[in-house]
Symmetry: C2
Subunit: 346 residues, 2 copies
Amino acid sequence: MIIDIHGHYTTEPQALHQFRDKQLAGLADAARKPSSTDLGISDEALVQSVQPQLKQQNERGSDLTIFSPRAAGMAHHVGSEAVSVQWSTICNNLIHRISTLLPENFIGVGQLPQFPGVSPKNCISELERIVKELGFVGVNLNPDPSGGYWTDPPLTDKHWYPIYEKLCELQVPAMIHVSSSCNPNFHGTGAHYINGDTTAFMQLIQGNLFKDFPTLQFVIPHGGGAVPFHWGRYRGLAQEMKKPLLSEHLLKNVSFDTCVYHLPGIELLTKVVPIDNILFASEMVGAVKGIDPETGHHYDDTKRYIDQVKTLNDEQRYKIFESNARRVYPRLDALLKKRGKPGKKA
Amino acid sequence: MIIDIHGHYTTEPQALHQFRDKQLAGLADAARKPSSTDLGISDEALVQSVQPQLKQQNERGSDLTIFSPRAAGMAHHVGSEAVSVQWSTICNNLIHRISTLLPENFIGVGQLPQFPGVSPKNCISELERIVKELGFVGVNLNPDPSGGYWTDPPLTDKHWYPIYEKLCELQVPAMIHVSSSCNPNFHGTGAHYINGDTTAFMQLIQGNLFKDFPTLQFVIPHGGGAVPFHWGRYRGLAQEMKKPLLSEHLLKNVSFDTCVYHLPGIELLTKVVPIDNILFASEMVGAVKGIDPETGHHYDDTKRYIDQVKTLNDEQRYKIFESNARRVYPRLDALLKKRGKPGKKA
């Protein structure tokens, strides 16, 4: 079974965008606030909206997508905390409906109602709701709710501890994923996303977070940003800081996904990062939708790259495609087992 | 001949640090201002201070280092514009003295007296001085004078045009290099530097800067940040934006250095980036000074990695080690020719 751990709902019905416009217009003119949080989207319309994802799952040969609201759509820097709470609830509910309608294809991961300068404590009730009531298996945690100005503390600061405690208690991992950038210096998918990944990993090197939270699991998307390309730099910096080897210091708790859109990148990733720390993902339909003229295939058809890496054996591919995801997302594993899909081994 | 295009003066005599302390103390208490800009550093002390670099040039087999003030030391966000002007002048003068004392080993690149929110026009007189009077062959341009808050406009904004006009007129390239980070989210060499590189490249993809400045040359250090690892992403994003191929859009004007501190990273760099766009560099004595336990050699001994890449032929190595640098730094080439070192070909 092939599990794509990183998909966002980027094909939302117009009704969701119309709601968001009204919600934000309501900040300037209360008369424009949406009259209801019922978007009026039918089950049929939801199923219709994810046909592109289903088509690509089918064509590319993946089975299940771990599915969350559009990352850029979270926009935690916009409006107010109350806006973020309402918006997160609505977006999470749509993901829940889709994964209920198409349980073989999608399983939910949530967005949190973060807001810059506000303690992540404010996210705990939504986190409990999406895991306990909606059956989500993970969350996206935005390390920069300011959207490109990085005004909140680093991930290793005690500021974040309440949410980590709850993540450990619930046994759900967090993907460390920024949202859109409101800083004109940072293109969203071309700079802010990748910088967010690199920044998060370096913060984790500097700190000792997993001494305090030995069971906490983080996924760093987009192949870990710049980290694998500069693996020697990061090993060397950790060494100068008298930290343990990365295998000991971070790699029991941190994994990278495979959203790297060319074969040489995937070759590097699988060469330098231990296979146990690599989770298959494509982020489709997502950041880079085109066809690579050098290959004739979609840039984000990352399964093709993994299939082509000559140095990987079947067991390693099984880890990347399935068993690592079952380990990092224990609630996913439990759910699959309940459905009679135990996987090849524990 | 092997030219290392990226070295900073990180072994400065204590007198320079003492001056800086007094200079900044003077902001709070004018009575503490340094009484003179004469640091009282003898030629002997300067030559002594760069013995570590000379030793490593000798041991590793490089000949000439393109040498600039400590990158983190520029700290454009600190103090005032006047502080930045005084500090840049002093730091550049030390580089000039070293490259005059040891002309076979060092050639100067300068820092600019940037300050957040101030037009780079303010740097033109120092730029003219270091090129025309001190014989420098390039400059470091900080894309984020705020030191990690990114409050100035992107590099493609007209804000920067005055400095680009002067760079073209003088025929000197700019290395796009941030300085220290005062944002606790960004470790300097582990996050801010790499993010700065990635951000700059993406800004250049979004814009059309080299239509306005067809002869402008930029070097993006640290192997281009995350860019080569995500080469497919960047090709795909440019394609979605209807930009020309990167070879046409940027690669006549943008090069990457080889400050990537492990063999798999250098293998990727030389595989995806055209060889004409790769300049040898190590940034020694710099960001990562230790010995890699996996190889028994210094992380930043990048020449070893290039020597080991099996797919490179002699002509390609010659480009990386020498002739690309001569092309990107025409004043360096002219100087070497004047010294009777014409290189193998034009």
